[in-house]
Structures are given as C-alpha cells and as structure tokens.
C-alpha cells in the first residue's frame, strides 16, 4: 500500500451527484437528512450524563439527546457518523490515500496547524449549536429542502469564511 501511488480524486460533479443520491435515500427511507454536528452533541450529552447524570437531565440542551430509545450513544446521527468514518476510511484504503500527515501550507509549522485545527473546531462547535446544525445538517440537508434558515446559515457561513480567510492565509499559502 505504501508503494502504490494514490489514485486521483473523483470528478467533483459525479461525487456530488452520488452524495445527492445518498441524501435523497435518507429522505426516502427515514424522512430526514444527513448530519454531523448532532453526533458531536449526542456523544457530549452521553459523557455529561455519565459524569453528572442529574446535570445532564436538567440541561435543556443535553436532555434533548438523552430521550431517544437507544440513548445518546445509539442515536441515529451517531451511527451515521460512525458510518462516515468507516466509509471514508474504506474509500481512502482502496484508493491508496491513507497517509499520516498534518495538512498545512508550506510556511506553517505542524504545531501551529494543530492549534488552528483545534481552535477552528471549537469555534465551529459554538456556531453549530447556535445554528442547530452544520454544513451537513443545515447547508446540505436544509439546502436541498429549501429551508430558509438553512440557506441563511449557508450564506452567513461562507460570507464569514471569505472575510476571515485573508487573515488565515499564512496557514495555507
């Protein structure tokens, strides 16, 4: 595997159509779309509930993830994200794209990149809670369902990203 050259990525339009069919399958089978940040919230609720059960149960945020039949760890989105991890791994495996790496620009140190990844993730955590979802649950799913709030989220997120990107340029170029 290490000797093999990684295969190039798929055509973005074809991959996008395939992704759209997966999303459509979720609508048809489950009557709901895809998500990612919900799985983070559900597992966070699971941990809070294990450490401080009364605190989790009385929290208006975490309690919403504790009521499901399978509990927070067998929530639909948690299983779906476990699938995303498996599918992403398998795709990279067959294409020879598994590689331990810290992706960054040529002028940026690995440690600095790990800090920006950690910081960016934390900020997105706050944003996703406020917006009730992220690029998967709002932009992609709500976008296809023509939800006003989802389109508002998408426009706001990309506007902010384009405004901030020039300041983060050192990290990538």
């Amino acid at each position: 595997m290490t000797s093999r050259k990684p295969r190039p990525y798929a055509n973005p339009y074809l991959a996008g159509v395939a992704l759209g069919l997966v999303l459509l399958a979720a609508f048809v089978i489950m009557g709901r779309g895809l998500g990612a940040s919900g799985a983070f919230a559900s597992t966070a609720a699971g941990v809070v509930s294990a450490v401080a059960p009364s605190r989790a149960a009385s929290s208006p945020f975490f309690a919403r993830y504790l009521g499901g039949a399978g509990g927070p760890w067998l929530d639909w989105l948690v299983i779906e994200i476990a699938g995303v991890a498996i599918g992403g791994f398998l795709s990279a495996l067959v294409a020879g794209r598994l590689r331990v790496d810290i992706e960054r620009g040529p002028r940026f140190s690995p440690r600095a990149r790990l800090v920006t990844a950690l910081a960016g993730g934390s900020v997105m955590g706050l944003g996703a809670v406020l917006a009730r979802g992220c690029t998967s649950g709002q932009a992609l799913t709500g976008g296809a369902l023509l939800s006003v709030g989802s389109w508002l989220f998408m426009l706001a997120a990309f506007t902010a990203a384009y405004l901030v990107a020039p300041l983060a340029r050192r990290a990538w170029t």
Partner: protein, 218 residues
C-alpha cells in the same frame, strides 16, 4: 404514498439503525473520494484556487432537491412527512457567521473532519477534538444562550413560502443558479491555473490580490 419508509412502517427501529450505518458509509465514501477529507483542498475554496467544495455541495443539493421534488410529484414520497429543519433567523445568522470563522481557521467542517481524522490526518483529529469540546462547553453554557437560541422562530419555513412562489419555480431557480455557479467556478479555476500569472507574480496570483492591469486581459 409509500415513503418515508420509516414513517409508513416499512422500516422498523432496528432497520433504521442499519440504514443509518449504510447511509453514513456511503456519505463518508463520497466525501473522501471527492477529496473533501483534505483540509488543504477545502481551504482552496476560500482562496479560490480549488472550488471542489462548491461543486460537490451544489451538485448534491441539486440532485437531492430534484429527486425529492419529482418523487413528491409522482406521489411516492409524502413531502409533509419529510422533516424540514426549522428556521430561527437570528441564531442561525449568528451561528452561521461564527461557524464560518471556525471553518476558515480550521480548514475542515465537522463531517469532513471525521473523514480527515480516519484517513490519517492529525489536523483532522485535532479538529474533531476541538469541535467536540466546543459543543460540550457551549452545551454546558446553554442556559445563558437559550434566550437568544429561541429568538425569531419561524417554524419549518421554506423558500417557496417566503417568496410566495410555487415549489417548482424555486427548484428551477436553484438549478439555474447552481449551473451558472458551476460555469463561474470553472472559469475562476482556469484563470487561477494560468502559468503565466503564477510565474510572474507567484504571491499575488496565489493570494488573489491583483492590482496588475495585465491580469484583466489574460
């Protein structure tokens, strides 16, 4: 009408979890094979050097939107039973802005960070950790945020309702905007890849600050 299958009882609770796993695997496979597990590639979207994010996202949105529109029209899917994310104008505007800042800093979004993490990218793992901590801390501080979180609720408001236009007209408009966007994306990428530009002014061409007049003619 037979769908959503779960609502109509064709899919039980256990099968729903199997569906979650299978749909997730397909989702992750699509993301990885398009290169969306690579932070460097995703960051290209914000410096207009690689517009894969836009192409993948809008191909997916258009495909799912058209599919659902026609399955609804053919009477296969009961659209009233498909959950439309509810609209809360101010929190989603603010949440979107905050999310975008994090996206530009981190270079990956929550779903793609999972793909980056499992394919060996340590920055993806760091982002997953940060995202999880961010959700946890925000969840713990939620009582402070809740008054704002619940403001400007509009229910399951859709674009056809907002503009008071037929569903089909909005669907057609989104398709038209996406197709125009794809053309623009190809044009932008072609210009960015012109070797004469990058050879003469490597920094400016990569960075997108272009005061030089000859760029306009190129």
């Amino acid at each position: 009408m037979i769908a959503p299958l779960f609502d109509y009882g064709y899919v039980g609770a256990r099968a729903a979890l199997v569906a979650a796993l299978v749909i997730g695997i397909a989702f992750g496979w699509c993301l990885e094979s398009a290169g969306m597990g690579s932070a460097r590639k995703l960051a290209g979207q914000f410096y207009l050097t690689d517009l894969t994010v836009f192409k993948v996202m809008f191909s997916a949105i258009v495909t799912a939107m058209l599919g659902l529109f026609w399955l609804g029209r053919l009477g296969v899917v009961d659209l009233s039973r498909v959950y439309v994310p509810e609209t809360f104008l101010l929190p989603q505007l603010a949440g979107g802005l905050v999310f975008g800042v994090g996206f530009a800093i981190g270079g990956l979004c929550p779903g793609t960070s999972c793909v980056a993490a499992v394919t060996g990218r340590l920055d993806g793992m760091a982002l997953v950790l940060g995202m999880w901590a961010g959700v946890l801390v925000t969840g713990l501080a939620f009582p402070i945020l809740q008054p704002f979180f619940d403001r400007t609720a509009r229910g399951s408001l859709t674009l056809p309702q907002l503009f008071q236009l037929p569903y089909g007209v909005i669907v057609f408009s989104v398709v038209a905007i996406a197709l125009a966007g794809f053309r623009a994306a190809e044009w932008i990428e072609r210009r960015r890849r012109q070797p004469s530009l990058t050879a003469r002014e490597p920094d400016d061409a990569a960075l997108g600050v272009a005061p030089a007049p000859e760029r306009m003619q190129a």
